[in-house]
Symmetry: C2
Subunit: 199 residues, 2 copies
């Protein structure tokens, strides 16, 4: 994400550029939380980051590409490799990560913002889906494949449907219903998801 | 929702008032689909409905109360009474209704709009939750209670968690992932939801 350091640049230049990039990223999250995607502007981001508008445009071509870049990085971070040796363990590990991620402001505010844009613009919908879902779908596909190899799931289990069954209830609870999870909720949900996958 | 007809009003007055109310409602849906909740104004609604702003304010005190009124009526309409005699049949009937409702523009555009507002305003969050969820929660609570009476579910099944397991995967698929349902999806989902509830 940082620009290549020019050959003869002073030693501090690359560091400075990274600082600016980080300041812009932090400003984007603050602006998104404060005003939302629809009302957010590159001007507002630059002002909050204490940089010029060109510093933003040099890095990202639009506010959409900027937000998708951040959301994609956020959605991919910390996704577990399914390596517990059991379907329940793998699903439990994924739900644990997801239950934290979905309570982060990026999820609870920015993802709904982006879905609003996606509902009116197929191009945005595709980009949002890719940024949000590709990482999770990859993990679930691997979990399902390994479970099938162990004989825990039928060979023809559909990975898309598996993602719906594993992530859907948690997303609904945390982002739509918005009530706190009672103790043991993630364990119960992992058990239910495994039963749903096997049904 | 129509105003009481004054005693001595001409015969057509009540009808006319209902027409105005309906014209405003239709205009709200069109405005929401076109510009979204954040950018929608009472002025825009009145213009599209061909009425004055006061005709809108006489009926609803704000654009939020107007939209919540419509969303609440939409969410409650067509919810099935769980009367099939089996947990699978009741869950299947609810998912069938929900799968149509969630593909309606109200769900695919307006609900995400409202969740964006809800993420930043607890008062809106409460009103949205009530309008959207109370009807569905009522149906799921009844389904769970009757299943427990038949011995199909444990007596202590949590109705909130049951709603997450039944509606979550479908909402995720239709409103977040936004890919078409393959044939037999609702049947499979009902079977999975029953297994998840029993787990």
């Amino acid at each position: 994400m940082t620009e290549p350091t020019p050959r003869r640049a002073p030693a501090g230049a690359a560091v400075l550029r990274e600082d600016v990039t980080e300041a812009i990223r932090a400003a984007v999250f603050e602006e998104l939380a404060a005003v939302g995607f629809a009302r957010m502007s590159i001007e507002g981001i630059a002002r909050r980051a204490g940089v010029g508008k060109t510093a933003v445009y040099r890095r990202w071509k639009s506010k959409l590409s900027l937000v998708l870049d951040l959301v994609g990085a956020f959605a991919a971070q910390g996704l577990p490799a399914p390596a517990t040796g059991s379907l329940y363990g793998d699903v439990r590990a994924l739900l644990e990560v997801a239950s934290h991620a979905l309570r982060h402001p990026v999820a609870s505010q920015v993802i709904p913002d982006l879905l609003v844009e996606a509902a009116r613009n197929p191009e945005i919908a595709e980009a949002v889906t890719a940024a949000l879902l590709d990482g999770q779908q990859g993990v679930v596909t691997q979990i399902v494949r390994e479970a099938a190899e162990r004989g825990e799931l039928p060979e023809d289990t559909d990975p898309g449907r598996a993602l719906d069954l594993v992530v859907g209830p948690l997303y609904w609870r945390l982002v739509v219903v918005r009530t706190p999870l009672p103790p043991g909720y993630v364990d119960d949900l992992a058990r239910s998801a495994v039963a749903a996958l096997k049904a």
